[in-house]
């Protein structure tokens, strides 16, 4: 379900994202277009990224 929620929030296969900051306890702040998401470290581990 976490994967579906990520996709619903805009983190879909092929999406272009930018790592904008690191938050507390290994969480990450990512930008997709004009939107920003905070994601905890466990959920980040589910996401595969390639440098664009």
């Amino acid at each position: 379900m976490a994967v579906l929620r990520l996709r619903e929030m805009g983190l879909r296969p092929g999406a272009l994202l930018r790592l904008s900051a690191r938050g507390a306890s290994g969480s990450r702040i990512v930008s997709i277009g004009a939107a920003r998401l905070a994601i905890d470290s466990e959920t980040c581990a589910l996401i595969e990224v390639d440098p664009a």
Binding site: E8, S25, A38, I39
Partner: protein
């Protein structure tokens, strides 16, 4: 075709933090009220929206990212959208997160609701250099798109026209076939995938490609979300809220109760004097009815301040950051990081802490947090600890009081873990995936409207109960049961209230406190913990205005406890402090819990708390007297 006989029903649907409530407040102004969604404790704002001379009903649904609901709040939104009784859904699209907003719009259209889209946050998207093309979007979607700004009211008239037109001839969203909602997981995933593809096509047509520009929000987040600075910054914010509910609210609360006790009470009693009302009627009106009204009124500034603080934190965009910063600390209780705020506020006063649970997006989390709030030791209880600690542990008073606070935190964690393993098993830690809105100044007019709506709801629903119980306490204290006193002129011991305390006192003997005066003070403490000491003084018939009253009270209480505890006064005093910490929430907290969560949860939590407090106090006394 709809006839004009029934009020058309319009839903306001959107992601969290897209300015939906600001838009709602701007469209309905003060013509709104808080209602519970059918069969739930999820509160909704429902209002009247005047469109082209007709009154329409407008419902502000809980913000959600998806109609595949993960919480009761999201379920309320999903159920409403799937209900054909609603005529049109106004879907609020966030221009800074169009892809996420369009996914929800696609789901609403697939559910068969006619759609009108309101585009918000256009200025913020423009600041990031990614302003969507509203005209291209409207063409791609095949439904009207109205740019709105709930803060300035811009676009409201256009939105009314679009909704009026949609009521007459509903438009379908291009590329979405309305279909029955399917409950099976593969179907759900296939539908979601189909919508994702559709969203990509639409956004490609309407959103410019390119890198977002860095804005003020990015710079501020560097500090507020920083692994080292984020927590101190959050604690500073909590400290400020704490100060607001204590230092700022205190004088206002005093002023409100002084107004009722002083001028209002004297006007009322002189008016009653003119009509030669009997003394007991004057006493009932002033010490019963007006005292209750005064209690409710004194809470109004406190609640209003808390609602303003919560609204401002939410409207500014900071609250989403709190979820990130305090995520780890609260996750062990299955709660969102934002639950930290109400739990800390509870140490000032439990009542505004219940208001602060509004920061949590999920109903079950609000329930769990709201049931844990009474375990946070409020300042009213501090007054009781201080008096008992100075009386019984004069050389270690500070340490003993500190231990009470440690105990309070332990109780919150302990009861939280118990609740999660028993009655609230569905509260499970969720992965943290949260959208961070741009920082904005809170919108004052919109904030004022929602604070007004919430405070009036408190006064109407919780206030009534408080007044009734304070009146009932007066009646018990006014009825003489022996000694041949006049009605409403009875020493506590000879009143019905005293008789109740005398019969309840033996229940305190396992704690070493079998004394009617202590029992009576504890019963009074249910009304408000602030009055426990005053009630003791009243029972000992000590004039609390007299010099050295507290020392006298301490000596007398010490003598009583020495006797009831069989010489183990310290153990009994410690047990009394622990009992006071959690035996029952105060009346205002109970009334507000009942308003928010219903009678069943309120009674269950209070009952569990009482049994727990009784068991702990008994254990402390029984073990303590052996030492």
């Amino acid at each position: 075709m709809k006839q004009a006989v029934r009020t058309a029903s319009i839903l306001l649907v959107g992601n969290p933090n897209v300015g939906k409530s600001t838009l709602f407040n701007s469209l309905t102004r003060a013509r709104q009220r808080v209602v519970n969604a059918p069969g739930t404790t999820v509160a909704l704002a429902s209002g009247i929206w005047r469109v082209n001379g007709d009154d329409l009903s407008l419902v502000d649904l809980p913000g959600t990212y998806s109609l595949i609901a993960r919480s009761p709040d999201e379920q309320v939104a999903a159920d409403a959208v799937n209900d054909p009784d609603h005529d049109v859904a106004v879907v609020v699209l966030d221009a800074t997160a169009l892809s996420r907003s369009l996914y929800l719009l696609g789901q609403v259209a697939a559910a068969g609701r006619p759609v009108v889209a309101a585009l918000t946050m256009v200025d913020l998207a423009q600041a990031r250099g990614l302003r969507p093309d509203a005209a291209a979007l409207s063409v791609a979607l095949g439904v009207p798109i109205v740019e709105v700004n709930g803060r300035t009211g811009a676009g409201s008239a256009d939105l009314s026209h679009a909704v009026a037109a949609a009521l007459v001839s509903p438009a379908n969203v291009r590329g979405i076939e309305p279909h029955k909602h399917s409950a099976t997981l593969p179907d759900t995933l296939a539908c979601a995938q189909h919508l994702f593809d559709w969203v990509e096509q639409v956004t490609d047509a309407a959103v410019p490609a390119g890198e977002p520009r860095h804005t003020f929000t990015d710079r501020l987040d560097r500090v507020l979300l920083n692994p080292w600075l984020g927590l101190p910054a959050f604690l500073a914010v909590v400290w400020a809220v704490f100060q607001l509910t204590t230092v700022v609210a205190g004088p206002l609360m005093d002023a409100a109760s002084r107004l009722v006790d002083g001028p209002v009470a004297s006007v009322v009693s002189s008016m009653l004097g003119v009509v030669r009302a009997p003394d007991w009627i004057v006493s009932f009106t002033v010490d019963g009815v007006l005292a209750g009204v005064g209690t409710v009124l004194s809470f109004v500034p406190l609640m209003a301040i808390m609602f303003v603080a919560v609204g401002a934190l939410e409207g500014s965009g900071y609250l989403a950051r709190v979820a990130v910063v305090a995520d780890r600390a609260m996750r062990s209780l299955g709660l969102d990081g934002r639950a930290m705020l109400p739990l800390i506020v509870g140490f000032g006063c439990n009542l505004p802490a219940l208001s602060a649970t509004a920061v949590l997006p999920h109903a079950r989390q609000r329930l769990l947090t709201g049931l844990l709030v009474p375990l946070t030791s409020c300042t009213a209880r501090l007054a009781v600890y201080l008096m008992l600690a100075h009386t019984f542990f004069p050389s270690h008073a500070g340490s003993v009081v500190f231990a009470m606070y440690v105990g309070s935190v332990a109780l919150v964690i302990g009861w939280g873990l118990v609740a999660r393993r028993t009655v609230l098993r569905d509260v499970v830690p969720e992965p943290l995936i949260i959208a961070l809105p741009d920082y904005q100044l809170p919108h004052v007019r919109s904030l004022t409207v929602s604070v007004w709506t919430r405070v009036t709801s408190f006064v109407r629903k919780a206030g009534t109960i408080i007044v009734v119980v304070v009146m009932a306490l007066w009646v018990l204290q006014a009825i003489p049961v022996r000694g041949g006193h006049e009605l409403a002129d009875v020493p506590v011991e000879d009143s019905a209230y005293g008789a109740l305390a005398i019969s309840a006192a033996p229940a305190l003997s396992p704690i070493g406190l079998d004394d009617w005066k202590i029992a009576s003070a504890l019963v009074t403490g249910i009304a408000a913990k602030e009055v426990v000491i005053a009630a003791l003084a009243q029972s000992y018939a000590i004039d609390d205005e007299a010099a050295g009253a507290e020392a006298t009270l301490g000596e007398q209480l010490r003598a009583t406890v020495e006797q009831t505890s069989g010489g183990h006064a310290s153990a009994a005093a410690l047990a009394l402090m622990i009992f006071t910490l959690s035996y029952i929430p105060c009346l205002a907290t109970l009334a507000e819990q009942r308003r928010l969560y219903g009678m069943r949860w309120t009674a269950l939590a209070a009952g569990a708390q009482f049994v727990g407090a009784y068991a702990m106090a008994t254990a402390v006394f029984q073990v303590g007297r052996l030492l």
